[in-house]
């Protein structure tokens, strides 16, 4: 650890931001800082991502990767038509992804809308992580997901409700409108306020994932700025997308976010998580992400506290690939659940 890094590590989030920005988190200071970050070479980034995506991962490495992917999944259902029954069956799947194979690992978390958190917590029962290292977390999307178009008071109430109901993780969306029109201070303050709303009665905090909705940010430079902004404001995770609009997670976007996380670690020694979400449907895609993580921030990031996949249909494909590796023949959709 360098001396500047150790000095940074002493500070709490707010002080750290102050030190880096050289003043309060005002629009002007944030703009000066975020626009001072070097731009992204889009062609180089895409080429690097394509290169990382071309690795061949076979046999025992593939087996390891498939199990790793399952343990990193936030099994998600975010439909307007969600019911308590649907959430219970989702939890059942999270607990026992492959009933035919007891060795199959469990997923990291289930991700639901805020009002269904109590159902998920109840269905998980003793398997609910609730802050412990083992078990399955309950993540809730909040802050007027997916658009984020509501007053701050409503957003904070949304978060508070979910946390009270037992959510271990909160997936918030940033105000893309404010970000794109340069009102960085507003976005920053909102994240700080939401982080505060994640505080539980016992003083601990629910994990905060900040959704950037990269599909609406238009450029890689914006993605990088939004990533810095979210991390400066105290997000524990930065997440690509809501999954409600295309393009959702892409490999280059995730790579650029991982680079921010890597730089942040170098600067402060602190570790921030990354969660690509939406559009990752096949094991093949997911393995590309695993490779990218390992090559960009290191294998230590391949743990549920630092990397997640936001996905619903991905799990079935991984299970079918897993069955293929165990039985030696191709599996089919008849051998996994219909979600």
């Amino acid at each position: 650890m360098t001396s500047s890094q150790s000095a940074m590590a002493q500070l709490d989030t707010g002080e750290r931001a102050l030190a880096l920005l050289g003043g309060e988190a005002t629009d002007a200071n944030l703009r000066r800082y975020l626009h001072g970050i070097p731009g992204i070479d889009a062609v180089g980034l895409e080429q690097r991502a394509a290169d990382l995506g071309s690795r061949s991962v076979k046999t025992s490495s593939k087996k390891w990767a498939l199990d790793k992917i399952i343990s990193l999944i936030d099994l998600t259902t975010l439909e307007g038509a969600d019911t308590p029954g649907k959430v219970r069956s989702l939890v059942g799947k999270a607990l026992t992804p492959d009933p035919g194979d007891p060795a199959c690992p469990r997923v990291a978390a289930v991700c639901v809308y805020g009002d269904l958190v109590p159902i998920a917590v109840e269905a998980l029962g003793s398997s609910h992580a609730a802050g412990s290292a083992t078990g399955i977390n309950v993540a809730a999307v909040a802050t007027a997901f997916p658009s984020g178009r509501a007053s701050l008071a409503v957003k904070l109430a949304d978060v508070g409700d979910a946390v009270t109901a037992g959510a271990d993780e909160i997936d918030m969306v940033i105000d893309r409108g404010a970000f794109l029109s340069g009102r960085f201070g507003q976005v920053y303050d909102e994240i700080v306020a939401v982080k505060e709303a994640c505080k539980r009665a016992d003083g601990s905090y629910a994990h905060l994932k900040v959704i950037l909705e990269t599909g609406e940010l238009n450029t890689y430079d914006n993605v990088r700025r939004a990533s810095w902004l979210a991390i400066l404001a105290g997000g524990d995770f930065i997440k690509t997308s809501t999954g409600k609009m295309a393009p959702a997670a892409t490999l280059p976007v995730t790579l650029s976010m991982l680079e921010v996380v890597r730089d942040w670690k170098r600067l402060t020694g602190a570790r921030v998580g990354v969660k690509p979400a939406g559009g990752i449907r096949t094991s093949k895609d997911a393995i590309k992400y695993i490779v990218t993580v390992a090559e960009t921030v290191g294998e230590e990031w391949l743990t549920p506290s630092l990397f997640r996949f936001g996905a619903s249909s991905l799990l079935n494909d991984v299970l079918m690939q897993r069955q293929k590796m165990t039985t030696g023949h191709y599996s089919g959709p008849d051998y996994v659940t219909i979600d």
Partner: protein, 287 residues
């Protein structure tokens, strides 16, 4: 002035598209006399897997189409075959080394057979289905339904076009989707049939044509859990007993190999073989 011939490198036909083999491999197609004709893609087990995925996703639309519509679409293929007669005859003469007259007769028979099967599309249910006698105030009806994705090892000897058509057409009639491994040494007819299908009204993925080694792909198709039936008509030279055992592991319907010139001769049984009978009861109207 002499001209340099442009030999083709053919591709596979999967999901309505013409991809190269995932493995990047090709093999030479030679004429009956041993001259180089063209390259064909040598499909791998992963191409077979992709073809099954394509067939599965096309199943809903094809099985859900009305029987009349399926008949029309199949008939349209026969029309297109007729339009390409010359090409098919030429290819058969080159690969099989038969006379033009014999090749012409084979193409005619293939087209006629296709028309014959097309006609069955909205008729086989009447023959294979049944209104069962019951002693109660309700109907009891048995109807055949398509079984799903059918893998076919096309006949490896005899007429290359006729054998393929005889194996593929009956599976399509009921609304199944097909993954067919073409004649290994004489795949030209299969490749051209793919081109015909691509320009016909058949939705992409309903027929998927793989060229290459049946010995290599058949075990993967037989054991594939998402294949509902496998027609081993052209697998006579393979270890087909083991293929049957593999197929049984995942409850796959099996049709046994057939040899000789009468292999896969036209019959209603070939249509019904790829169906599952659903028996339902229904109340009589309260008159």
């Amino acid at each position: 002035m002499t001209r340099l011939a442009v030999p083709k490198t053919y591709k596979l036909y999967i999901g309505g598209k013409f991809p190269r083999s995932e493995s990047g491999r090709v093999y030479e197609i030679r004429s009956h006399g041993g001259d180089f004709l063209a390259n064909a893609a040598k499909a791998s087990r992963k191409d077979a897997r992709d073809a099954v995925v394509a067939a599965r996703s096309a199943l809903g639309g094809w099985a859900g189409a009305t029987a009349y519509n399926r008949g029309q679409v199949l008939y349209r293929i026969a029309e297109l075959l007729e339009g390409r007669r010359v090409q098919f005859i030429d290819e058969i003469v080159q690969t099989e080394g038969v006379t033009t007259a014999a090749a012409s007769a084979q193409v005619d028979e293939a087209i006629d057979r296709w028309v014959w099967y097309a006609g069955w599309a909205d008729k086989y249910v009447q023959v294979a289905g049944n209104a069962n006698p019951v002693s109660g105030p309700y109907f009891n009806i048995s109807v055949p339904e398509p079984t799903g994705v059918v893998a076919i090892i096309a006949p490896q000897s005899g007429g290359s076009l006729l054998g393929l058509v005889s194996a593929v057409a009956p599976a399509l009639v009921a609304g199944n989707t097909v993954v067919v491994v073409a004649n290994e040494t004489m795949p030209l007819s299969a490749v051209s049939l793919g081109e015909v299908l691509a320009t016909s009204d058949v939705p992409g993925g309903v027929v998927n044509i793989l060229t290459g080694s049946p010995a290599e792909m058949a075990p993967w198709l037989a054991s594939h859990a998402d294949v509902n039936a496998i027609d081993l008509v052209g697998a006579g030279d393979l270890d087909w007993v083991h293929l049957q055992i593999d197929a049984a592991e995942t409850l796959t319907r099996v049709l046994q190999p057939e040899n000789g010139p009468d292999a896969a001769s036209p019959s209603l049984a070939r249509i019904v073989a790829f169906t599952e009978t659903k028996t339902i009861w229904h109340t009589k109207g309260l008159i």
